[in-house]
């Protein structure tokens, strides 16, 4: 229960108003309102760049129970945050709590205060989730007034360029180099690649074919990222070119969608997206199932071109969850194998990538 009695409203594009109590920054928030059903892992979620431009509602009613830890960096990679800062433009909760565990540095509310991000609590987040489920994702604002002011169209904004790094960054390790193209990456991806012994060169979203190849990478990772993939024609072209070199490519989430577009497949916006850490996905050629993390508002649809194989599907609605393009050494996952938050089941994807990279190195020699 917030002690402050600062009334605020969540106002949706369709005119629905949810009164609540403000916390965090006093400024207004605007963005696309989405919900996640993940019951913990709020530190990771809030710092996930894929949420850029979105106001996040968490359906579990209590959030903040274990506070926010100090950032821990190992080999230059954040191990307990997905990026340096809060990425969501606003937070919608049932109740913000002020819990503190042994490793807490501050409370969740303090974190939002510090980073000037507004939040609203006292919301029936289930009612909101049902509303979005039925009406689809829509824009919304957190404000002190019940009026809905027109906000910029989420789909028209290129968020990737806002969150991607500007200059290449090297993470030295004992193994060969992997190029990680940062469209708004989660640090978890870096950690997974690094943990397999690889050195990493992290490149901006608009890195050209030449720039990437100049590092002589033994593998390329196309990361997750925010916003509308259809705006990323330049990136798509680059991906198409890179694929021609048959260097092993791993596409994750947005990276998966870029590979799909580069292969001529269709991307469509989903009704309300998949944002959860509890989803069953099947690896088709083995029948092996895993519980995976999802965070995407767009998905790959339509006909599968020759040479592209669907490797993973969602057990719930048969959404395409992964592809392989054997001739180009490409594997992709719509879900997040790095999880954070989420299970470690998906790590298998990195192992497959590792296998491909080792094979590539062996073949080259």
């Amino acid at each position: 229960m917030s002690e402050r009695n600062d009334v605020a409203y969540l106002v949706l594009e369709d005119g629905s108003v949810y009164p609540g109590i403000r916390f965090g920054s006093h400024s207004n928030a605007e963005g696309e309102v989405v919900f996640t059903t993940s019951m913990n892992g709020y530190v990771e979620s809030l710092s996930d760049p894929s949420y850029k431009g979105q106001i996040l509602a968490i359906t579990h009613p209590l959030v903040g129970n274990y506070g926010v830890p100090e950032k821990i960096r190992r080999n230059g990679i954040l191990t307990n945050f997905e990026s340096e800062m809060i990425q969501v433009s606003g937070l919608i909760l049932g109740e913000i709590t002020h819990g503190s565990e042994w490793n807490s540095e501050k409370s969740l509310e303090r974190w939002l205060d510090d980073e000037n991000v507004p939040g609203i609590s006292g919301i029936d987040t289930r009612a909101l989730a049902l509303h979005i489920r039925e009406k689809g994702t829509m824009a919304g604002i957190i404000s002190s007034s019940k009026e809905f002011n027109k906000v910029r169209n989420y789909e028209s904004i290129n968020f990737v360029e806002m969150v991607s790094i500007k200059q290449p960054l090297i993470y030295e390790n004992k193994g060969p180099k992997i190029a990680v193209i940062d469209y708004g990456l989660k640090e978890g991806i870096l950690e997974c690649i690094y943990s397999m012994g690889y050195s990493i060169v992290r490149l901006p979203h608009d890195a050209t074919e030449e720039q990437v190849l100049s590092y002589n990478p033994k593998g390329i990772v196309l990361t997750n990222g925010p916003g509308n993939p259809l705006l990323l024609s330049r990136e798509t072209e680059n991906v198409a070119k890179l694929m021609e070199h048959n260097i092993p490519v791993l596409g994750i989430c947005l990276g998966h969608q870029l590979v799909a577009m580069a292969s001529g497949m269709e991307i469509r916006k989903m009704g309300f997206g998949h944002r959860a850490i509890n989803k069953g996905v099947m690896e088709l050629h083995t029948g092996k199932c895993m519980i995976t993390t999802h965070n995407h508002g767009y998905a790959v649809f339509g006909d599968v071109p020759d040479g592209v194989e669907i490797s993973h599907v969602s057990l719930d609605d048969r959404t395409i969850e992964g592809m392989t393009i054997k001739r180009h050494n490409v594997i992709t996952a719509q879900f997040h194998p790095e999880a954070r938050p989420g299970t470690k089941d998906g790590f298998r994807i990195f192992e497959l990538f590792d296998y491909a990279v080792k094979g590539f190195i062996g073949g080259k020699r």
């Binding site: 359906t59 109740e95 029936d124 989730a129 199932c289 057990l315 719930d316």
Partner: protein, 1036 residues
């Protein structure tokens, strides 16, 4: 989808309800039976617990009401020739019995497949030392520990580990025998009892992780290794408190993603290591000051926590586990709630669920009243809300212990100082939250209460906040109070507590996916923290709201769940749609699959009225809700709810002794002379008039709380004073006690005119609580029935005149004391009774079915219909003496048993023997019988034992000398009990000053006790009987 199709599968139940094995296994067993049926497989169930739903033909194709022992399981297998056995759905009892048959090679020889996790996997999980070895081999962290096989080894291990240590016992349940020792002395005093409770003579001594968090992961795994975690439950009580004794919250609240996932991965590795097929729980201890954690144990079977996890999430764990045992793969199954997504997922919760245990320690003389590593609680509730405070306070109300929330109204607690409250917390009194709230009220800080309890500050802060908010509220002026009533209700305070009504509660779905997908099932709860009401108006004409009995306690158990399910099934058959209200996660009635709408909420007037309004259901059945139903009937009637069956006036006439007395006097029915007295002197005056012995009890109580028989003025004075003290000067009822009377029950259903009824006769004399008595149903043509023909006729006439006079409809139960062929009415209960499942199964006529019909229609006969019986039916009480540590085992007017079992046979002795053996820890004695304290019966008893058995007879020093028996000193007797030289004890009466240690030793060393001479005589005669093992229907 399923491996080579099986045609017939045998499922073993868990027997009588006892502490740590309750109705959760009826629930899981019933789901498994449904899974078998859905797969087109014939099911056979073996379970002596006659009060279960699974032993009715609604779920199973064949039913065997028989003891769970290898002898009887073998007989059933020989006869039915099943293809496979399902051992994982009847608790530890079933699992151990099936493993025994496997180890003998019997199952293999008969070609009966062992379904689910393999015997090797189970042994690796349940053998404490084997499990530790396996975990260490796989580099899965376990606490420092040693497996030990003797007291000496144990002491050595404890010394090496350093105190405090925790001792755990292999192959048992409810943590029986386990203990925490802070010193060598403590260790030595408990270790031998620990070994006595182990199925395999093995224990584990481990470092005690004091103050660590305790967590439980529920793991589901198929034959191909696809694994999902259904729930993670966080215990509020730290390590050292048995999970059955803990307040539990779901989902886990204080874990961050990192440690949650680390433990999740580890739980999956544990499941892999035992090649789990189906479901197991994995318990963890987590250091509250780091990410360090240990795996504590795993249970590769359905458990209390799996039932709870099912109810917490809506995921039908037992159903899916049964399908996995049949060879299905997880992803092939559907999420039964959404009906569109896969069963392979991990539920997400958008609410807070809290499980809270209910203890009845005070009902047991001399019982330890503290919470520890052994389970003692009798029941549990689960509450669901949209914040922690709401769920917590709702749970407290659901316990039905007279509290409205964490702020106690109990005079003793209210009077406590801070020091006293903290000391109650340190000594681990049950219901710690009441003391914590009191301590906060008296100025304690969170840190101080955390020190005393080890409970995470996160939860304590919330309780402290409640205390503060309540104090603020109480200090407000009336108009200001009104302004924040809604806010206070949102924190879980009740309207009654605040003295104000608020806006109605709202209903929300539990859909396993936090709203992400539409749900096909109507599994719902009520909350005050919502704007959207998901309640949908029902067709008022065709819908009936059924009230379950809520929390189990002494006197309310699975029999009321049975009644609820049976009555609701009958209503369904009559074209009604069922809206169910209950808050007990152990029950079949709270399987959402059963009802059109399931409301998991408190069984109380506030919620019933709210549901009636928002769902538009006006007809309610309260006779299934035990005493709660009767208590709220008037309030419901006042709110315009139509109660099906006996109306609130009839209920009041039966419940109010004075009214009832007037009515039966008017009708010329006899009852023992009685009076309600307000003082000791009034009591003494009544005694002078009526003469001793007398029965003394407080007015308005359940299951004979504080009831007792007094033989002289001294005892009378003490008893009356005692009741006045405990019940704060409520009137005391004193009645003439009819010595040596036979007690009888009449279980009936009526349409308001015609009656169907079954007479039952007790073996124990009147004065022993009917719940603790051995009940008999006699075949119509038997000598026993013929002998009682006249008296039964009189009982029927009494029933008829009461039905007419009180306008009874639906089920009712009449209790009589019979002396010289005169039936004296002791009690009339206008609700389902404890014995109705038994009387129904003895006759093959479902009383509850008729009860429901009688509420809605007229029967097609006139007068009193007494169904014919072909076989003897005998129902025996199941006690939990071993679990209720320190309690003095004895029978009396106050109920002590926790459950019941029954048996049927063509021969009365055989029926008694089978029924008695069905209750744990009873078994056929092989060596010696200790006989003492049976008064005049001693000699006959000994003669019977000599004639029919080869048992060596012993008697106890200080009791009447007996013929051929060897007299033992107390010390010798204790030794003989410990080493099982004596394997049965026959005694009677209430003589704790002489035999407390002997009776307690029996309990602690699992030696069967017969605590009543009449039962002793009957049993002695029955010990050599030749039993049959037929299907239930064959006895009809």
């Amino acid at each position: 989808m399923e491996k080579d199709k099986k045609n017939k599968v045998l499922l073993i139940g868990s027997g009588g309800i006892k502490v740590a094995e309750a109705a959760e296994f009826d629930y899981s067993g019933s789901q498994a039976l449904r899974a078998l049926r859905d797969s087109g497989i014939k099911s056979i169930v073996l379970n002596p617990n006659v009060a279960t739903v699974q032993t009715s033909y609604t779920m199973a194709d064949s039913v065997y009401i028989l003891p769970i022992s290898s002898e009887y399981i073998k007989r059933v297998i020989e006869k039915e020739k099943p293809d496979a056995i399902l051992p994982g759905f009847g608790g530890q009892t079933a699992l151990s019995a099936c493993l025994e048959l496997w180890d003998e090679g019997f199952l293999q020889a008969k070609g009966v497949e062992f379904f689910g996790t393999s015997p090797d996997g189970i042994k690796n999980a349940l053998g404490r030392a084997d499990f530790q070895r396996l975990m260490r081999k796989l580099k899965i962290p376990v606490p420092p520990s040693f497996g030990v096989r003797s007291a000496e080894e144990g002491i050595d291990a404890a010394k090496r580990l350093g105190f405090p240590v925790m001792c755990r016992v292999s192959f048992n349940l409810g943590g029986r025998g386990s203990f925490v020792a802070h010193s060598l002395e403590e260790f030595e005093s408990s270790i031998s009892r620990a070994f006595a409770q182990s199925g395999t003579g093995e224990a584990l001594v481990e470092k005690y992780l004091s103050g660590w968090k305790e967590l439980e992961y529920e793991v589901m795994r198929d034959k191909e290794g696809n694994t999902a975690i259904i729930a993670c439950l966080e215990n509020l009580d730290p390590m050292g408190t048995h999970t059955g004794e803990s307040v539990v919250v779901a989902p886990a609240q204080t874990l961050d993603n990192y440690v949650y996932q680390e433990m999740r991965s580890m739980a999956i590795r544990v499941a892999e290591s035992i090649s789990l097929i189906g479901e197991c729980n994995v318990q963890f201890a987590l250091n509250p000051n780091s990410y360090e954690f240990f795996v504590i144990e795993t249970n590769p079977r359905m458990s209390r926590s799996s039932a709870l996890a099912s109810k917490v999430t809506g995921y039908p764990i037992a159903y899916v586990a049964a399908k996995l045992a049949l060879g299905c793969r997880l992803h092939e199954l559907q999420n039964e709630i959404s009906r569109s997504t896969s069963a392979y997922f991990e539920p997400s919760l958008d609410y807070i669920a809290i499980k809270m245990p209910r203890w009845d320690n005070k009902k047991f003389e001399m019982a330890e009243d503290s919470v520890g590593s052994e389970m003692k609680s009798i029941g549990e509730v689960m509450s669901i809300g949209r914040n922690f405070e709401e769920s917590l306070q709702k749970a407290v109300r659901m316990l039905d212990i007279g509290e409205e929330g964490v702020i106690s109204t109990n005079e003793a607690i209210k009077a406590m100082s801070k020091g006293e409250a903290v000391s109650a917390l340190r000594t681990r009194k049950p219901y710690w939250f009441l003391y914590a709230a009191k301590a906060f009220e008296e100025g304690a800080g969170v840190e101080e209460i955390h020190d005393a309890t080890g409970i995470n500050a996160f939860f304590l802060e919330k309780i402290k906040n409640l205390v503060g908010k309540y104090a603020e509220f109480c200090n407000l002026k009336e108009d200001k109070k009104k302004e924040i009533v809604e806010f206070m209700l949102g924190l879980g305070f009740s309207e009654k507590q605040l003295g104000y009504k608020g806006p109605g509660q709202k209903a929300k779905h539990i859909d396993t996916l936090a709203g992400e997908w539409p749900s096909d099932a109507n599994y719902m709860y009520l909350t005050r923290n919502a704007i959207l009401d998901e309640a949908e108006k029902q067709d008022g004409k065709d819908s009936v709201l059924f009230l379950g009995a809520g929390c189990f306690r002494i006197g309310v158990s699975v029999e009321f769940d049975y009644a609820t399910v049976m009555a609701a099934s009958a209503a369904k058959k009559l074209g009604k749609s069922v809206v169910m209200l209950n808050c007990n996660p152990e029950t079949v009635s709270t399987d959402w699959n059963f009802s059109k709408i399931l409301l998991f909420d408190r069984v109380g007037a506030e919620s019933v009225i709210s549901i009636s309004k928002s769902f538009g259901v006006n007809d309610a059945v309260v006779f299934t809700a035990g005493q709660i139903g009767n208590n709220i009937s008037e309030e419901l009637h006042g709110s315009g709810i139509n109660i099906l069956g006996s109306g609130h006036k009839a209920i009041e006439s039966a419940e109010n002794r004075k009214l009832f007395s007037n009515i039966i006097n008017e009708l010329g029915i006899k009852e023992p002379e009685w009076e309600s007295v307000a003082s000791v002197s009034e009591a003494v005056n009544f005694a002078a008039r009526a003469g001793y012995p007398l029965m003394v009890r407080p007015s308005f109580v359940l299951s004979g709380s504080s009831m007792g028989i007094v033989k002289n003025e001294d005892e009378l004075r003490r008893k009356v004073l005692g009741i006045e003290k405990r019940y704060m000067h409520k009137p005391v009822v004193i009645s003439k006690f009819i010595s040596d009377a036979e007690e009888a029950d009449l279980d009936c259903a009526t349409d308001g005119k015609s009656i169907i009824g079954v007479p039952l006769f007790h073996i124990e004399e009147a004065g022993i609580h009917s719940g603790d008595s051995t009940m008999q149903a006699f075949p119509t043509e038997s000598k026993e029935a013929k002998d009682r023909e006249h008296v039964v006729e009189k009982m029927k006439r009494i029933a008829e005149s009461l039905v007419e006079r009180l306008r009874i409809r639906g089920p009712f139960n009449l209790q009589f004391a019979i002396k010289d062929e005169v039936p004296y009415v002791i009690e009339l209960n206008l609700r389902a009774s404890r014995s109705m499942p038994f009387s129904s199964k003895a006759t093959g006529t479902e009383i509850l079915d008729y009860a429901m019909k009688g509420c809605l229609y007229n029967f097609d006969w006139d007068g009193f219909y007494n169904p014919k019986l072909k076989a003897y039916g005998i129902k025996s009480p199941q006690f939990s003496w071993a679990q209720i540590k320190g309690a003095y085992p004895c029978l009396g007017a106050e109920m002590k048993s926790t459950g019941e079992v029954a048996s049927f046979d063509k021969d009365i002795d055989a029926a008694l023997l089978k029924s008695w053996i069905s209750a744990q820890p009873n078994r056929m004695p092989q060596k010696g019988a200790l006989v003492y304290g049976n008064g005049a019966s001693t000699e006959t008893l000994e003669r019977e034992l000599e004639d029919r058995t080869s048992l060596k007879l012993y008697s106890l020093e200080g009791f009447e000398a007996s013929r051929g028996a060897e007299t033992l000193s107390e010390k010798e007797a204790l030794n003989f009990l410990r080493d099982k030289t004596i394997d049965i004890v026959f005694t009677d009466g209430h003589i704790p000053e002489k035999d407390y240690s002997v009776r307690r030793a029996c309990a602690d060393f699992n030696v069967p006790m017969v605590l009543n001479s009449r039962l002793g005589l009957g049993l002695a005669k029955a010990l050599g009987a030749k039993t049959d093992a037929n299907e239930l229907k064959d006895y009809w």
